[in-house]
Amino acid sequence: MRVFEPLIELARGLGTTFKIMLEKPVTVQYPEQKKPVKPRFRGRHVLKRYDNGLEKCIGCALCAAACPADAIFVESAENTDDVRFSPGDRYASTYEINMLRCIFCGFCEDACPTEAVVLGDNYELSFTNRRDAIYPKEMLIEPAPAGTLPTPQKVPPGLYTRSVPEMKDPQD
């Protein structure tokens, strides 16, 4: 009987192997198939706009202050009614995120008072040198919604007199 014991063990092992072979694999055939991300997934940053096309970012640099990796660089400038980027006094004239420093923690999204910077769903980032890793505002701002003009916009005077736009409570 002793000569069968290794065979029995072998059969048990192989049985597990064959059982698994017949099961449906969990492998996702990336890049042809992409698994959808979870709702609060933290991916590439996006600077959002309002429905009328104006940018939400008011250049306050709270995201830069909150960032634990010092990945964000913000410079602000003044809006005029002729050259308007955001509703309010101030907009970000320079907005850069260094993706190599970023740890995708989402503190910037938490800190933003106007829900301008959000961490979106895109995780497919690659660059071949350090300079390309610094994403400027042009790469981060989302395109203008259909039917609106891109910023800077020329707006009628007196429309945007608040320094920080009216905000509603966040939904999620």
Binding site: A64, E78, G88, E96, T161
Partner: protein, 817 residues
């Protein structure tokens, strides 16, 4: 008489302070921070904001006996039914102050809640965010939730220009009146005030132009919220994003301590630039204030017009060159010139630069001269102010004489501090040919005609107005004399200096503590030059002829185009400068120098105080520090000078010049705790001013006076009925090389102008506000005519450095253009 000490207990801690101290200040001295908004330690308390509410208990006094009631061996303390404001309540014996009880805490919380009902949610866009007392005190003392409906917040004008340098945001204003009180009490120019009442209260200015005060930017430091902000720094950067460097302002001889805030910016092509200049506390120089010129005129440092590479001229062609080549050429010419050369230094240079220039001149046998229109400086080294002289401590018993100087334009912080000294009881005597702003505070005003300056000082007793003044001068415990160059050239001012020094001698104050002579120089470091033995020359044209001329930090041809011919007749011209000027255009070798913002060094203020400045920015282009350029040149000419370390040069200065004895960079970097506490956690108390952690500087020792020289008579031009005499005066915003690149000051600089009395304007048939043609020394210029009743008859006031050459009174012709 020393004040009596009072003992009291604040939050369980015993403290003993002089009688009359307010509870807030007493608490601060033992490290207890009672929050305030409207109170400022340099101004009278008003008790408007109610943030400093505390519980105050006082000993119960028995009505019959008038003695305190004793219970259990201690006085019985009765606390008031309501909270009291700590800023308006002076201490009293055995008082008990409780700031940490539930009642006091709740009171404070509710006051913050009230303040926030009217305050907009502007923190993300407000420039004050990060250095905002309202933010800090709300976090410390406020409630985490608000009971107020945001829709009910009132909306007001947000971007109101008060003048063109300061913006007001009416919604953010918490009506603490710090700005109004600063302007009214400290500056004496009530150009800000409240308008309307209750919730609609606004800040307004009705002066022409708006907020007409050269101290306007200080209100942005003491404003506890972001209501007052500067136009220069609007949305510039967040306070935590900037680095700081300690520096000294170089626009006038006061030597205000500054902090330069710098940041590396994308909009400046990745260069580090100065974002703003903030005051640095030095209670003996500028306290916690700066004037607007010192605050805003910093853009020259980053100007793209600055010289970045050495330039060499061959014939008519000027080409960029390397340092080696340029220095070799210059050194060769220097050696060839043997002893036939003159070094002309400007007062903008640091002590270390001046030392090297003098050492080069002395070592190679040439002449060293100071480029200036104001003489008499050697007297300030002999009869100058002593170690402990401090305008901030002067009061009754001190007399201050200001002769021929418009301090408001020439040295604003001295104007401010002398005005405050007069308010504290010092006797202020003004001797001037025209009415100036400081006269409002003078006990005696001596008016003379232009040309009679020195004579007036010498024979003060002879005139009736002078007699009372002379009495005050003679009987004073301390006497400080400031002399300027209003309407005076080199000889005139030297003569005036001699008369003033003679006055100090005669009244027995020369060399005594708390007394001395101060020169209101046109540049920051003229005093340093005088201390090192530089002397001015009267006839520059004669000095230039056939000599090698080595010019550093001055523009003689730009100031007087007639010198162009003389400079062309020089053998060889080397110029060390920041920008291309008329002088550099005639130079054989132009060496680009660093601005003071890019290197370290020290300046000597007009009060003979040596102060260090530190590098804030990297070098512009290929510029080198002035002392390094001079040392390289000297080395190639066979003379060894220190060219790498400013610290080592200071050690050499200390060993060579008696008045600098004992000085070193370490000594200059010493700091002491200063009162009031500012900066860091104390921004709510003193304002967003930077604490001084990098050096208070120290005074130079007084040399042995010996006998002061007698006065030589000087022929001065006097006004006469038949002709028009142009008088050189100082205007704070001029076309100086370091001021012009600041475009936001251009409306204040304006065009070249001449000021006349209305009768004079009629006589010469020119109208106020019109353009006229002014001819001086054969050349005609276009000027704007201004009319002012304060201008004396038969003279025309012509500001210096506005494009029209004038250094000493000159006859001019004026006609409508």
């Amino acid at each position: 008489m020393p004040k009596q000490l009072v003992s009291l207990i604040i939050d369980g801690q015993s403290v003993s302070v002089p009688a009359g101290t307010l509870i807030v200040d007493a608490a601060k001295q033992v490290g207890i921070d009672i929050p305030v908004f409207c109170y400022h330690p340099k101004m009278e308390p008003v008790g408007m904001c109610r943030m400093c509410l505390v519980e105050v208990g006082r000993p119960v006094i028995d009505r019959v006996s008038g003695q305190p009631v004793i219970e259990g061996g201690k006085p019985k303390i009765q606390f008031g039914a309501k909270l009291e404001t700590a800023c308006t309540t002076p201490v009293s014996e055995d008082m008990q102050v409780v700031g940490m009880s539930e009642k006091a805490r709740t009171g404070r919380k509710e006051i913050v809640e009230f303040l926030l009902t009217s305050h907009p949610l502007d923190c993300p866009v407000c420039d004050k965010g990060g250095e905002c007392p309202l933010q800090n005190l709300t976090m410390a003392h406020g409630s985490s939730e608000s009971r107020f409906k945001f829709d009910d917040k009132q909306h007001q004008k947000k971007h109101v220009p008060l003048g063109d340098l300061i913006w007001l945001d009416r919604e953010r204003c918490i009506q603490c009146a710090r700005c109004i009180r600063f302007q009214g009490e400290i500056v004496g120019d009530a150009v800000l005030d409240f308008f309307r009442r209750g919730r609609a209260t606004d800040i307004v200015t009705y002066s022409e132009p708006g907020f007409d005060s050269i101290f306007s930017s200080n209100t942005t430091d003491i404003c506890p919220v972001g209501a007052l902000t500067t136009a220069d720094f609007r949305f510039g950067a967040r306070p935590w994003e900037m680095n700081s460097a300690a520096s000294i302002c170089t626009h006038c001889p006061v030597g205000c301590n500054t902090t330069l805030n710098i940041r590396r910016e994308a909009r400046s092509d990745g260069n580090m630039v100065i974002k703003r200049i903030m005051p640095r506390q030095n209670e003996q120089v500028n306290e916690i204030w700066l004037c607007d010129k010192g605050r805003f005129a910093h853009h020259f440092s980053a100007s793209p017009d600055r010289l970045a590479k050495p330039l060499v001229r061959t014939g008519e062609l000027v080409t960029e060159s390397s340092w080696e080549e340029a220095l070799n050429l210059a050194a060769r010419s220097l050696v060839e010139a043997k002893q036939d050369f003159i070094v002309l230094a400007g007062g903008r240079l640091a002590n270390e630069d001046l030392f090297n220039l003098k050492a080069l001149a002395d070592g190679l046998g040439g002449k060293a001269a100071l480029y200036t229109h104001m003489g008499g400086g050697y007297l300030t080294t002999l009869a100058g102010v002593s170690m402990d002289t401090n305008f901030g401590e002067m009061g009754a018993g001190t007399s201050i004489l200001v002769a021929a100087s418009d301090l408001y334009n020439e040295a604003p912080l001295w104007y401010l501090r002398i005005k405050q000294a007069a308010a504290r009881g010092a006797t202020l005597i003004l001797a001037g040919a025209r009415e100036t702003k400081l006269e409002k505070y003078a006990a005696h005003v001596i008016r003379y005609a232009y040309g009679d300056e020195a004579q007036t000082i010498k024979s003060m007793q002879k005139s009736k107005a002078g007699q009372a003044a002379a009495e005050a001068l003679a009987s004073a415990q301390n006497l400080v004399v400031l002399y300027g160059s209003d309407g005076l050239g080199l000889e005139g001012s030297a003569s005036l200096a001699e008369a003033c020094a003679g006055l100090l001698d005669m009244t027995g104050h020369a060399g005594k503590p708390g007394s001395g002579l101060i020169g209101v120089w046109p540049h920051a470091n003229d005093q340093g030059a005088w201390e090192m033995g530089f002397q001015p020359v009267a006839d520059l044209a004669a000095e230039f002829k056939n000599k090698l001329v080595y010019i550093a930090a001055c523009d003689p041809v730009g100031d007087d185009p007639a010198l162009a011919e003389a400079l062309k007749s020089a053998r060889f011209v080397i110029v060390q400068e920041l920008f291309q000027t008329e002088t550099t255009r005639l130079a054989n070798v132009v060496l680009p120098a660093q601005a003071f913002t890019e290197r370290e060094g020290s300046f000597t203020s007009g009060e003979r105080r040596v102060q260090r400045f530190y590098p804030a920015l990297p070098a512009f282009g290929e510029t080198r520090p002035d002392f390094s350029i001079t040392a390289s040149l000297a080395q190639k000419a066979g003379l060894e000078l220190e060219g790498t370390s400013a610290l080592l040069i200071m050690n050499k200065i200390a060993s060579k010049y008696k008045s600098f004895e004992g000085l070193s960079y370490a000594r200059l970097a010493e700091v002491r705790e200063q009162w009031p506490l500012v900066g860091r956690g104390d921004i709510y108390y003193g304002g967003a001013i930077y604490a001084n952690t990098q050096g208070l500087g120290t005074r130079l020792a007084l040399l042995e006076a010996g006998s002061l020289p007698g006065t030589k008579p000087v022929e001065s031009k006097r006004p006469s009925e038949s002709e028009l005499l142009a008088i050189p005066v100082c205007k704070i915003y001029d076309r100086g090389v370091t001021v012009l690149p600041s475009t936001l000051l251009h409306p204040h600089i304006g065009d070249a102008s001449v000021s006349l009395h209305p009768d004079t304007a009629v006589r010469f048939k020119v109208q106020a506000g019109s353009t006229a043609q002014l001819t001086v020394n054969g050349t005609a210029y276009q000027v704007k005519v201004l009319v002012d009743e304060k201008v004396p008859a038969s003279v025309a006031l012509l500001p210096r450095s506005m494009g029209i050459p004038i250094n000493t009174p000159a006859t001019i012709s004026l006609k409508a253009a």
